[in-house]
């Protein structure tokens, strides 16, 4: 849905609204439950106007009770509805971790029944300190039974939330705070993006960066700088961490033999470690040298803007990582 000027494209948050709105038209079992949704439209305007359009049946303002919010969605999903539980910040999911990991994720395995539940939250580093900036996606990807979406742009937000709302499985839907206001084109009502299919953001000749979420933006900036030095780097946006597009990962390793895996979660025990390890096991002969990972240090995120930025990959760090693999 191309519009005439860049400013008329919807934001990343509005793309979420658009996808949810279209899916409620299709399926009246969808409802959103969270805090401050009806008047405020959510902390990132992600559901603004939906209560007014569809009624309070479809948007429920909840007490600040994360465990009960997730169990409300869980029980309703087990009953056959398709709730979106909006937890605002993924940091707050830690108050509902039993409901997510012990309950929602395991029900299909034990009882053979679907759990069509979406848990939406913002994720990643921005201002706000240690309790509003966690990147917990590795934890959820680690948990059998959960799917994890990490869109980096408006098009993917809309296409992925539409797919999530047609899925019989619990989906953790993580939107990056720093992308909330970024505008971009979105697909139409029939544009669904499958989970487990990465997107090639930019093709390249010399090396590949495999990444997702806000780090895609960092990679794009690095690619521009690298291009001025004659290095043409491919960028692959995973879009979902589970299912994981292992075909795209293996293909990148085989084609380039020089690969950087990047995100802003703490690197210790992270999804980037998983990707580097399995890609190395599967494609050792294709590698010109070790896969290089960049990510966050193993430290809480500071409220200080300088310290917060220092914790996560900078454009310079990305450039250095690419140069390292290109030098193999």
């Amino acid at each position: 849905m191309t519009t005439s000027t860049q400013n008329q494209n919807p934001t990343y948050s509005e793309a979420f609204q658009s996808g949810v709105r279209e899916e409620i038209y299709r399926n009246r079992d969808i409802f959103i439950l969270g805090t401050d949704l009806i008047e405020r439209g959510g902390h990132f305007a992600q559901v603004k106007g939906i209560a007014q359009e569809f009624g309070f049946q479809h948007v429920k303002d909840s007490p600040i009770s994360e465990a009960a919010m997730v169990s409300a969605g869980l029980g309703a999903a087990m009953y056959g509805l398709h709730p979106i539980i909006d937890l605002n910040f993924i940091d707050f999911s830690l108050g509902a971790m039993d409901e997510i990991i012990n309950q929602a994720a395991k029900i299909r395995f034990m009882f053979g029944q679907p759990v069509p539940l979406v848990i939406r939250a913002t994720s990643g580093t921005a201002l706000g300190g240690a309790h509003h900036c966690n990147s917990l996606e590795s934890l959820f990807a680690h948990t059998a039974g959960l799917a994890v979406a990490v869109p980096s742009n408006a098009w993917d937000v809309k296409g992925l939330i539409k797919t999530a709302l047609r899925s019989p499985d619990p989906v953790i839907f993580l939107m990056h705070k720093k992308l909330s206001g970024v505008r971009g084109e979105i697909g139409d009502e029939n544009t669904l993006i499958p989970f487990g299919k990465a997107r090639t953001v930019k093709e390249g000749k010399h090396a590949a960066i495999i990444t997702y979420g806000f780090t895609v933006v960092t990679a794009q900036k690095a690619a521009v700088a690298l291009a001025s030095e004659g290095i043409d780097v491919e960028i692959i946006d995973l879009r979902t961490l589970y299912p994981l597009d292992t075909d795209a990962i293996n293909s990148a390793v085989q084609r380039f033999g020089r690969v950087v895996v990047a995100d802003e979660a703490p690197m210790f025990g992270s999804i980037t470690a998983e990707i580097a390890a399995t890609a190395t096991e599967a494609n050792f002969g294709s590698l010109k040298g070790p896969i290089v990972r960049i990510g966050s240090v193993r430290a809480p995120i500071s409220a200080n803007p300088g310290m917060s930025e220092a914790a996560i990959p900078s454009v310079d760090a990305m450039i250095a990582a690419v140069k390292k693999v290109v030098a193999y």
């Binding site: 009770s65 409300a72 029980g75 009953y79 039993d98 299909r108 009882f111 059998a144 899925s167 499985d169």
Partner: protein, 327 residues
Amino acid sequence: MSNLSKEWAHSSLRGMMLIREFEETADKLSLRGKIPGGIHNSSGQEAVAVGVLSALDPLDVIATTHRSHHHTLAKGFSAREVMAELFTKSTGVSRGRGGSMHLGDFHRGHFGGNGIVGAGVGIAMGAALGIQQRGDAKVSVGFVGDGGVNTGRTWEAINMAVIWKLPLIVIIDNNQYAVETFVDRVTGGGDIAKRGEGFGLPSYTINGQDVVEVNEYTAKARQRALAGEGPTIINALTYRYYGHNVGEKGQYRTQDEILDWKTNRDPIDLFIARATSEGLITDSEVAALRDDVKKEVEDAVDFAEKSPQPDLNSILVDVDSGLLGGK
């Protein structure tokens, strides 16, 4: 004259006897190593299960606890499918994947036992929200123990049910011991029902050894829920005859205390006495029921013993739907 029907009396007594026979049998089988992971025996708590479930419609929803054989049998699940699940056989109600703590079948309104203390009330509350969203004439019942009422999640869920007037009934299957910890040692405020008053919903402490009383309070709570007036808490005082888990040799309560409950407050004996004196059942009918449940449990054990193990190659089946591309 009795205000109970003969049919109800026979069915409730049979239900309680079936649970007792099932649990006594399962306990022995567990000690013989037949039940992987053991069980949580509900002997002594039969009146809570049968009193509640006999007041519900078959399609009403329940979500329960780690000690849930009695709720599951009282919901109408067969001894065969429950025993086979304890044996973790493929013919069990959860295909051998759930075991003793995870009996359930959503299509029959059973949203599962639970290995996590207090989790059942939240799931039942969510089901009640689903019922309300759909406009269905059903209720949802969350079972919790005296241990579970000290989890925060239980009260978060109750608060949500109150503010949205959800058709939820919270049954505290209060056997007075959280594993080996006596309820009064760990429960601020004493009477748990008083906590409910603070949350603004009717809360009753009742005699959980009296199946009729449990049934009446549940029926009243169900009417309230169906009328859109919201949730109710029923704190049913009961007692478990065995340890928290099979084989437990705890010193936390006296033999006199156990004997007192077994002798003077056994729910089955109490109901037989009442039903007999009210002319609802004869001694020979009681004997016939005992014989009947014994045969049903023997058959269930035989069925469980002979049932096949789950296919080990199915370990990745139903981890997720596969529709999102998961492998």
